[in-house]
């Protein structure tokens, strides 16, 4: 177990200080997140795990600047996060690809919003990332012509291509079958190691969290709070059926159920 604050080895890419987020729902006010303080280090793969409804998606929306905090502040480096920006791309759970664009046009969407690139550079970059996710031969395919796993790969390429400082991933694999998921765990770790990205991924799958994260932050629900933080010091690439991984996952599960039993 470690402190939720950075251990000062690397500068913090994202900083959350006493962040609280409430929603006015039909059934009254809901506190989705309460008093969250957390640092995400530069180049870190941070995974937030917790049962559904504990505020994971809300957390990512706040980091993305799509929603605003009620209390506390979020900073990217030195700057306060107030609006969406290309430096923080989000990859969603499923089907956020644009159905009127084919695979490469989807990847180009974000690249075309970078004015400093020439069209040739954009195309080259889009091809590079499609190849990286293993879909170099599917450039012209429309989203509906791809399998769920392929679609998520295109979405991954689309999020990576504009080279954001931070990649935010909202349960990106949860709609996929186990085999495809396993493949993508391999892909994303490889890309993470190669590209040295800062990644924040949220999931309700504890095994997945332990498999992917440098650190795993366990959230507890009602209201969403940081319950415990786990360091994962296993070598990459990690595999789901690694016994060391299983025992760590069991530890996280115990921590979660002990809280839920309270």
């Amino acid at each position: 177990m470690s402190s939720p604050h950075a251990k000062s080895t690397a500068p913090a890419a994202l900083t959350l200080r006493n962040v609280t987020k409430r929603f006015d729902g039909a059934a009254g006010q809901v506190t989705a997140l309460e008093d969250i303080s957390l640092d995400v280090r530069e180049g870190e793969f941070l995974v937030v795990v917790g049962p559904s409804g504990c505020g994971k998606s809300t957390l990512l929306s706040l980091l993305a600047g799509l929603e605003h905090t009620n209390e506390g502040e979020i900073r990217l480096g030195e700057e306060a996060v107030v609006a969406p920006g290309r430096d923080r791309l989000v990859m969603f759970q499923q089907d956020a690809l644009f159905p009127w664009l084919n695979a490469i046009e989807n990847v180009l969407f974000g690249l075309r919003l970078k004015p400093d690139l020439t069209e040739a550079e954009r195309l080259e970059s889009a091809r590079y990332y499609l190849n990286l996710v293993g879909l170099g031969n599917k450039e012209k395919a429309r989203p509906h012509e791809l399998s769920g796993g392929m679609r998520q790969r295109v979405a991954l390429a689309r999020s990576l291509a504009p080279n954001p400082r931070v990649l935010l991933m909202d349960e990106p694999f949860s709609a996929l079958d186990a085999l495809t998921r396993e493949q993508l765990y391999g892909d994303i770790q490889e890309i993470f190691t190669k590209r040295k990205k800062t990644i924040v991924l949220v999931t309700h799958n504890i095994r997945e969290a332990v498999c992917l994260g440098d650190r795993v932050v366990l959230f507890s629900p009602n209201p969403g709070r940081v319950q415990q933080v786990f360091d994962v010091n296993l070598p990459r690439p990690r595999r789901m059926n690694d016994p060391a991984l299983a025992s760590l996952a069991a530890e996280v599960t115990t921590a979660l159920s002990s809280h839920l039993a309270k």
Partner: protein, 259 residues
């Protein structure tokens, strides 16, 4: 065996029997019957003569030009107005609501006012066609823009899209199928109202299909009346067949909404 026959055979046989029966019914009756119900051969004869004299083509041209220009104006105004309704709450609560009401009004009801405002001129007919098109388009655009999945907007925004870029690259493409069916509906409304207007008033600036039908009425030439009816039907079908349906099918197919 009947089930082995190609599908078009039975309808064709029935159609031919129907036409032969109709022809027989008219020819075996008294002379007055032929006035009340023209035989298919008479209608065909009228059709052929009107085609040769150029009368039919020029009337079709006049009507189509009115329809296309009026529809284009209506759609060109309806799209931004619909977008504005979707974007601005108070516009939706005023113009949007008004559009809902006016959409239920057959636009031929505008004829008296249009004649007063524009005189017995081309502008009056165009106005009626525009009124037929615009409200259906406004409502369709408003609804389809409001129904764009928020996920697309969020994804686009995090990639740095906003303002005009968001509208032109995400909202409109996402709303396109709905907008297109609104336009198709607007086209159908405009077509019906234009026919009514042309029958209702003789517009001196052009002799359209409706006027041709009305002339048939005044001459008691029911072959002409039914012939024009057939042409009106044909034009409506063709517009759908060569224009709206292919676009719609392409749109649906390219997004995997259909096979």
């Amino acid at each position: 065996m009947a089930s082995k026959l190609p599908r078009p055979v039975i309808p064709t046989v029935i159609a031919v029997l129907f036409l032969v029966g109709w022809e027989w019914f008219v020819r075996t009756g008294p002379d007055t019957r032929a006035v009340l119900v023209p035989a298919p051969s008479h209608i065909l004869k009228w059709f052929w003569e009107a085609l040769l004299s150029g009368e039919l083509l020029s009337a079709t041209w006049v009507t189509m030009r009115r329809l296309v220009i009026g529809f284009a104006i209506g759609a060109a105004l309806g799209v931004p107005l619909g977008a504005l309704c979707a974007r601005v709450r108070w516009v939706r609560d005023t113009l949007g609501v008004l559009a809902l009401g006016l959409q239920t009004l057959p636009s031929v009801c505008w004829v008296p006012l249009a004649l007063l405002w524009f005189g017995i001129r081309e502008e009056a007919v165009l106005f009626v066609v525009v009124m037929g098109t615009i409200w259906a388009v406004v409502i369709a655009v408003q609804e389809s823009v409001l129904n764009v999945p928020p996920l697309y907007l969020r994804a686009a925004q995090t990639m740095g899209s906003n303002g005009w870029h968001l509208w032109s690259r995400v909202i409109f493409p996402a709303a396109l199928p709905g907008v297109l069916s609104g336009m198709k509906q607007g086209w159908a409304f405009a077509w019906r109202s234009l026919m009514a207007a042309e029958i209702f008033v003789v517009i001196v600036t052009g002799f359209g299909l409706g006027s041709l039908l009305n002339a048939g009425r005044e001459l008691l030439r029911m072959d002409q009346v039914m012939g024009v009816m057939a042409v009106v039907m044909l034009v409506g079908l063709l517009a759908d067949l060569v224009f709206f349906s292919p676009i719609e099918r392409w749109l649906r197919r390219s997004r995997g909404l259909e096979r």
